[in-house]
């Protein structure tokens, strides 16, 4: 998977994903997002229009980035089955996470976002212009 970064303003980062996102590269995506947050980005727009495949490891990466952009430290996703407990916080209350926005996922990827309920947490936009304007 190749990534591109665009910074249309100081607080906004657009991260474009090109290729396949799986267990071999999802940690790189988390680290890329953490670096952008550390550089001052407070809104992350993930352009998925050129992403051809995403496994549940990619869903874990999106989940982790949502936590990062809410100012939280995500748990280590590879700590084993014992670490797969609920992250303890009552802060969310079920609201959407507007700090991370998804753009133009392929139908198969959108279907998996729906199957895992992530489409109810992270807003999905049809194109980059809409994600930047909202």
């Amino acid at each position: 998977m190749n990534t591109t970064v665009d910074r249309p303003s100081a607080g906004v980062a657009v991260l474009g994903l090109d290729g396949e996102l799986d267990a071999s590269n999802y940690r790189e995506l988390i680290e890329r997002g953490q670096a952008l947050y550390a550089e001052g980005a407070r809104r992350l727009i993930l352009d998925l229009s050129r992403l051809t495949y995403m496994s549940s490891s990619g869903i874990v990466a999106l989940h982790s980035l949502a936590l990062v952009f809410r100012g939280q430290q995500p748990p280590d996703p590879e700590a084993g089955w014992s670490a797969f407990h609920a992250v303890s916080s009552d802060a969310a209350g079920g609201e959407a996470v507007d700090q991370v926005r998804l753009v133009a996922p392929a139908p198969s990827i959108a279907a998996n976002l729906a199957r895992t309920g992530l489409d109810r947490i992270l807003p999905i936009f049809p194109d980059l212009e809409a994600a930047l304007a909202a």
């Binding site: 267990a23 495949y53 549940s56 989940h63 809410r70 609920a86 009552d90």
Partner: protein, 147 residues
């Protein structure tokens, strides 16, 4: 059984793309349509990822993936020699949970059940794990997976 083909890999996340390519190339030859191929590619990727990350825990070990056409189904069997892990023993994933109360994982098994008609698990006589996935070769999947 007819037209079976097999891929053997050593557990390594860098081999996942080869696993997906194997299913993408062989499943159509067994009569799988585009929807069936896509579901099987993802389901196999999810299970093999679990074996690599949580079965072998980063150590090398053999994984065998067998693809066959049996009746109306494309059937995938995945065998490994990692410590036994029964997916039925894992807590169910609830896609309705809000962000901060969601487990960071477990979605792979949930997706396999969503994508396949059958999801069966057994411990082979010599140990390790074997799963059998069944997905109707054509059209939408017909039943819910179980294991």
């Amino acid at each position: 059984m007819a037209d079976a083909s097999t891929l053997e890999i050593t557990a390594d996340v860098e081999r996942l793309k080869d696993v997906r390519r194997f299913v993408r190339e062989r499943a159509p030859a067994l009569g799988a349509d585009e929807a069936s191929v896509g579901d099987l590619v993802q389901a196999v990727d999810e299970w093999v990822t679990n074996v690599i990350l949580h079965g072998y825990r980063g150590s090398p070990g053999p994984i065998e993936i067998e693809l066959a056409r049996e009746g109306e189904e494309v059937v995938v069997r995945v065998r490994d020699e990692a410590p036994a892990f029964d997916p039925a023993a894992a807590p169910a994933f609830d896609p309705g949970l809000p962000l901060e109360r969601r487990p960071l994982g477990k979605m792979g098994l949930h997706l396999i059940r969503e994508l396949c008609d059958r999801f069966e698990y057994r411990i082979p006589a010599g140990g390790g794990n074997e799963i059998e996935l069944g997905r109707s070769a054509r059209g939408p999947k017909l039943n819910g997976g179980s294991a």
